[in-house]
Assembly symmetry: C2
Homo-oligomer: 103 residues x 2
């Protein structure tokens, strides 16, 4: 059976904290996100040179990916964050298998 | 030892082909990309509703991620593709481990 994987990518400007400090500040959020229905995994991304952070999320359910996107867009907007890049995609499994994707 | 993982995200407008047709058209490119030094894996992403495609790439080497970004930005520009979103990040390993990241 081929799973219908979905990818959600977030990216937005951010002023810190970074690294271990960000990990401490966001540990509760990460624990909450880890329980989201349909989420296979999330990789947390940060770039203190360009002052951007984001996340790459794999879901095994299309509706769950869209619900997660809308929920977290609302959360980020409430925090006053602007210029939020948020894209949802299907995964092209044939090409991803050639490039060793962990799916 | 903690590996210094880097993430590269591409996203850009695109008119097709999609799905299996895209996989056939890009199979050679995927095989070439699979041999790139420092690339751990790439997940290929597509959204035929929004007409965007992209890729999520994990590297184990910062310089390799930047070289790959520049090489493929040049390739996409030569193909006439515009409005290319290309961001490089460090991976926040502590948060990513909480959300089951395959790293």
């Amino acid at each position: 059976m081929t799973m219908n994987y979905m990818m959600l990518v977030f990216d937005f400007p951010y002023d810190g904290p970074w690294g271990d400090e960000m990990a401490t500040a966001s540990q509760g959020l990460a624990e909450d996100i880890s329980t989201e229905q349909g989420l296979v995994w999330k990789i947390w991304t940060e770039n203190r040179q360009t002052k951007r952070i984001g996340g790459v999320h794999l879901f095994n359910d299309r509706d769950a990916a869209l619900r997660f996107r809308d929920k977290h867009l609302a959360r980020l907007n409430l925090l006053g964050l602007k210029e939020i890049f948020a894209q949802v995609y299907e995964v092209n499994q044939k090409l991803s298998q050639i490039t060793r994707a962990p799916i």
